[in-house]
């Protein structure tokens, strides 16, 4: 039997995903140990788990280097890869939102030359240009995006909002919701065809677990 390879987004998502795999009878004990290893094998079920950076998960899966991936919807939206997005795993829930100083609430539509800072330039562009029909200027940042409106780099930001705590502490607020986010189970299109039974088996079991 071939190994099925699962790419997990490093961090909290990987931990939650592992729990899900354990709950359907996979052996992930190797991963529980504190180690710097990036690849773990379950010889019984012929599974391999690899730990990669979240934004790389869709790449591994699209190219077939991994058959399955567990990754946030934000990464999928930003990358727009050619994959099967089979299940909403229901964890890692948060939302993508336009945030900024509270006084801009309700005024975004009337602003011309809106400057938007984001780690997710494609999502921001798609939301403003395709969905709202508004031309904007995108400023791509790699972190601490909340800072941008405070120092005048941008008018607003498009970012992930979980609790909204960071925003509040920096005097920002959610102005508009872009979309809800959560972890997704994605599958390479070729693997889906070539390993139909094994993958659908996991999908079925996951769905049962999630409904519990």
């Amino acid at each position: 039997m071939r190994y099925l390879t699962v790419a997990l987004a490093k961090g909290r998502l990987a931990e939650l995903a592992m729990e899900l795999f354990i709950s359907i009878g996979m052996d992930c004990s190797e991963m529980k140990e504190k180690t710097r290893k990036l690849i773990f094998t379950d010889e019984v079920n012929k599974m391999k788990f690899i730990l990669v950076k979240a934004s790389d998960v869709p790449t591994y899966v699209e190219y077939g280097a991994a058959d399955i991936g567990i990754v946030g919807k934000d990464t999928l939206l930003e990358d727009n890869r050619n994959l099967y997005e089979m299940i909403d795993l229901g964890f890692g829930k948060c939302k993508m939102a336009v945030c900024g100083p509270v006084e801009l609430k309700g005024k975004l539509d009337t602003m011309t030359n809106l400057r938007v800072a984001s780690k997710y330039p494609h999502i921001a562009l798609k939301y403003f240009q395709d969905d709202k029909g508004q031309t904007i200027e995108i400023i791509k940042l790699n972190g601490s995006v909340e800072l941008a409106p405070l120092v005048g780099l941008s008018d607003v930001i498009v970012d992930i909002v979980e609790t909204g705590k960071t925003l509040k502490e920096n005097g920002l607020d959610v102005l508009e919701d872009v979309c809800p986010l959560s972890a997704r189970f994605v599958v390479n299109k070729v693997s889906m065809k070539m390993e139909k039974e094994r993958i659908m088996n996991i999908v079925q079991k996951f769905k049962e677990q999630i409904e519990k």
Binding site: Y63, E85, M194
Partner: protein, 453 residues
Amino acid sequence: MSNWKLHTPNGVNDILPSECAVKKEIESTIWSVFSSFGYKEVETPTFEYYDCYAGLGGQISQEHMFKFFDEQGRILALRPDFTTSIARMASTKVDDAAAPLRYLYTGNVYRVEQTQGARQREFTQSGIELIGSYLPAADAEVIAAAMEAIMAVGIEDFSMEIGQIAFFNGLVEQAGLDGKSIEKLRERIDSKDSVGIKTITDKLDIDESIKNLIIDLPYLFGGAEVFEKAYVDGLNETSKIALDNLKRIYELLCLYGFEKYVSIDLGMLESIDYYTGSIFKCYTHGVGFPICAGGRYDNLMGQFGSPKGAVGAAIGINRILSVLSDKENHDISASLIFAEHNAEGIGYDIAYNLRVNGCLVEMYIGGGDYSDAVEYAKSRDIGAMLRVFPDGKLIIDDFTKHETTETTANEFLGYYDDDMMFEHNDCGCGHDHEQVHDHGHEHHHDCDCGCED
């Protein structure tokens, strides 16, 4: 300033001899299979007017084409595929009465792709187009020919998925969706995103059985049992005809003997503006993308003024190559001729005679002495060395048999005897063969030595 002259641009590659040999072999195998189905090879220009490729519902969007201008400012584009050009050619240059037309092609296509990874901007496609038939027998023939070709190159473990665009078109027609929602729904079904599909169907006021069918569409893949699930009550004419059509294609493919390779996927919905009926993709282990794809494109011929049914398939040679990359490259070893000073003429004569008999012959041009030539031969795939002296003496060093023979050029070439003769020919191609040849021709001997084996 960077100096780019040592590099190839993103997305294009050199192909070195060992890989090139395998690639050409794959191309020629595929060519033979397609041509055995009665397809005739054609060539179309590497670039055409952009308008040719840009027609309504073109399969490749403009941001994926390499464009440039001619001297009159018209936009040209490197061909992003062959189908469009062949459709243009068939519409404008071929008599209508000649249908059905069967064309085959092999060549490179060019696309502007994001090249962070394995996506190429220049790649080789080998494919067929069957123009002038609306019948399922045409679809089945093209799919069958593609599968024969894939098997002929040595891929046994593959899966050919067939779908039907018109079935989906029938469903959304019934649901009364507008263009934008259709695209959204298509995208979500194509990526098997059930959550996303439900958010669209929840808003629809349609027959419950149709609604459930749309939600189930991503999972409607597998064997013949898919048809039973898809034939629900309340299907409209479009969907019913589409399903009948796909079922017929499937049955015909089973009659071809391909049952174990073919499965149905009604959720496969790519390029729906371009394809009008059947659509198919072929997958195998070891490559994350389809190795072959195609479908029915009944609207394309009409855009060039000659509406006709047409169906085609294209095989991605580079992808096949990556699957077969561990395939052994059985190079035929060459012979190396080392001519001593003033013996070049005799050397060339021997080389010519061996070459016309199908042997691979290299001349040593390294400029060194015989021991240098031996060194060279050992570093290469050389089966035998022929050392020629000005007086006609010839020493043959057969590396595969570890034999050294001393003879003369005349004897080796069979010039000395007027009679037909048998001769043992050590041409170095790695085979023992006795040859019969007729002597007397300055630069020719007729021989059936079969060296090309």
